[in-house]
Symmetry: C2
Subunit: 402 residues, 2 copies
């Protein structure tokens, strides 16, 4: 199927499984159950009226003596585009601003402290077309573009940190494009930005035609509500990208994305969740929803006929915790706001239990990677021929031969 | 529950879900469906008689013009210990040798080319006790111990590569212990060994009391059937460990493990599978089964009363492919042999599609990690206070301030 006909894994399991089995399935699939949040009635009503799903869950941590609980509520928004992709650029942007403004209002009612929108949220995901105009006209200054100013107002109004992933036009560096997340403090000030570190060359994700690999490293943003980072889309396939945000201290890593059913749906529940486990942090995976049709047909390098649609964006946004537990996903076919209450103390607690950073041997890996990227690197391969000697990287000691 | 009462996720889903929904659930959970292997009747009969589960699945790759399919069958064995842990060491080892010999015989009947046993397969997982004798008496020479000689015979008889994870006594280096996998060629020769690179300090996994972090780096073994590596147990939580085996060319990475329900069951389907996706290789996750009781009681650092059992080893061994698909797991409560037919061409095919190695920016990460391990490292943290300047690692360019 992989289209909109099927709402979600969780809804299906809840419908068919007897309670005892459902509990076991959830335990094996999701770990410790997350508590359902009791959200304000007027938020639920507004969501119903606004035709979007609203779900809320809480992750808990153990009580400590020396630290208070560090409770923060994050909001993840997934949404369809609103106007046809042939509508004037300014109208498309404006319609999305209005939609997100309304959804953020509900998030505020739910007490959300940090909100994150989907990747390139002000535009259709037009990189499949390989056309430049009009799509590059969606690009804006990260520092003072229309969308950043919109988000600053939102942040100030709701006392909310806003993570706003946009197509950036970088006027200070030759006017090039970047795929960038702007982080806006709850004060309304632009705190900084984070750029997509890994650019796909897969399927219709022709993004390398538009912008290059990010050059800002792995910044972490100290907000009033905790230390956050943004790993944009394809960076979720790269464990080292998550790791470096975590090494720099991120407690919550947002992963605003745009990905489609045929390509990635079975990978989606795995990667961000693995990152939460491996890095003792919370991860928030956000995907857009629905089908986007473009004015001109294009081919996809798969031998199939030219077409005008970019697969099916399957939503399914979720939050994963450092203990490996996770929320259910938002639906595959509807706009949605996922509210998750996190106790950030869980990060250090899980780190103290599992100790992946302490046992990570990063010094060894820094050496091994530095060797491995050299043009003359010889991989450590052990062969049966007794005259061959295995290469021995980083002076770690040779392989003992029989 | 987390005990033996519940057989497996897959059995539960197949029992309760209508066919259409089952297909969607499997698609979202497991990706492309694996084909069931038609195993020889006499293997199925032998498994029934030997009271162990036998399952077989095949992963397929696209046809290529310039390479033939590179078909290999791997066998994963999960098993309970056989004698009480109070039985004489030699008898316990001997009983396990006989059991594995019989299961390997069935694997041979199924055409298995490479077989891997569970972690420390010749012994109970006694590290929970923190006692030395008699458990350290299970340690053997990797090069010419009783178990290695047993495996050499097995390998030669069945023309099968054998991966034999044991507790190693290293006589050449002061007689210390290691957690080691011995790799034996199908010729019967000891090809080499791989040591556990990351040692846990979690729950009852008191292994750091017995042996240290491996010093052999990330060797890959060129066998007649493909390039293999062994990431032992706790190394599965460390994405860099998987990565370096893959950088050295591993097409199949075995993960012989011993892990229990309460600690890790919801992480189990995530980590090895994420590694298969992230590294464009096959991963084979093997866990032991059942409950092990020890002669003397011990506590677990969890405030609970002293006890004699080491949790519940939940089996659930599985194989994951580079396209993110996976086999169902073996059961949670029974000995089992999982046969998986792999077309190793799928590794390069998925690498060419997704390009994670090409887009991995390892040079940047080698630099960033080298910086991050320095005692005076300052994480890249962006703060709102305009007088603070974010640190800028590796000359990657500073954070642009608003």
């Amino acid at each position: 199927m992989a289209g909109s006909e099927w709402a979600s894994l969780e809804q299906c399991l809840e419908k068919h499984l007897p309670l005892g089995d459902l509990q076991e399935v959830k335990r094996v699939l999701y770990g410790k159950e997350t508590r359902k949040l009791d959200l304000p009635r007027r938020a639920l009503e507004a969501a119903l009226e606004g035709d979007f799903e609203l779900q809320g869950y809480a992750f808990e941590a153990a009580k400590e003596q020396q630290r208070r609980p560090r409770i923060v509520r994050v909001g993840l928004i997934q949404n369809k585009i609103l106007l046809p992709t042939s509508a004037p650029v300014a109208e498309q942007v404006s319609a999305l601003h209005r939609r997100i403004e309304a959804m953020a209002e509900v998030a505020a009612t739910c007490g959300v402290n940090i909100i994150c929108f989907q990747e390139a949220w002000t535009m259709p995901f037009a990189f499949c077309t390989r056309e430049k105009l009009p799509w590059t006209e969606f690009a804006e200054s990260a520092e003072d573009g229309l969308t950043t100013r919109f988000c600053q107002k939102l942040a100030k109004k709701h006392n909310m940190v806003v993570v706003s992933p946009i197509l950036e036009r970088d006027r200070e560096h030759g006017g090039v494009l970047w795929n960038t997340a702007v982080v806006i403090s709850n004060s309304g000030a632009v705190l900084g930005k984070s750029r997509k570190n890994h650019i796909p060359r897969v399927g219709d994700f022709n993004e390398s035609t538009y912008y290059m690999e990010g050059n800002l490293g792995h910044p972490v943003f100290q907000t009033q509500f905790g230390r956050i980072a943004v790993n944009i889309c394809y960076g979720r396939h790269h464990p080292l990208n998550w790791l470096m945000y975590s090494v720099n201290g991120a407690e919550i890593i947002f992963n605003p994305s745009a990905t489609i059913g045929e390509l990635s749906e079975s990978l989606w529940p795995i990667e961000a969740r693995n990152a939460a486990i491996a890095n003792h942090c919370f991860t928030c995976a956000i995907n857009r929803v629905g089908q986007e049709l473009f004015p001109n047909e294009f081919t996809s390098g798969d031998g199939k006929k030219a077409h005008r649609d970019f697969g099916y964006f399957y939503g399914s946004s979720y939050v994963a915790a450092p203990d490996g537990s996770r929320t259910p996903g938002l639906s595959r076919n509807q706009d949605g706001l996922l509210v998750a209450e996190l106790d950030l103390n869980l990060c250090q607690q899980m780190s103290d239990i599992w100790s992946f950073k302490m046992t990570g041997r990063y010094e060894m890996y820094a050496q091994e990677l530095a060797e491995a990227v050299r043009p003359n690197y010889t991989p450590t391969v052990v062969r049966e021929d007794p005259t061959s000697k295995p290469a021995c990287p980083s002076g770690l000691g040779g392989e003992h031969r029989p």
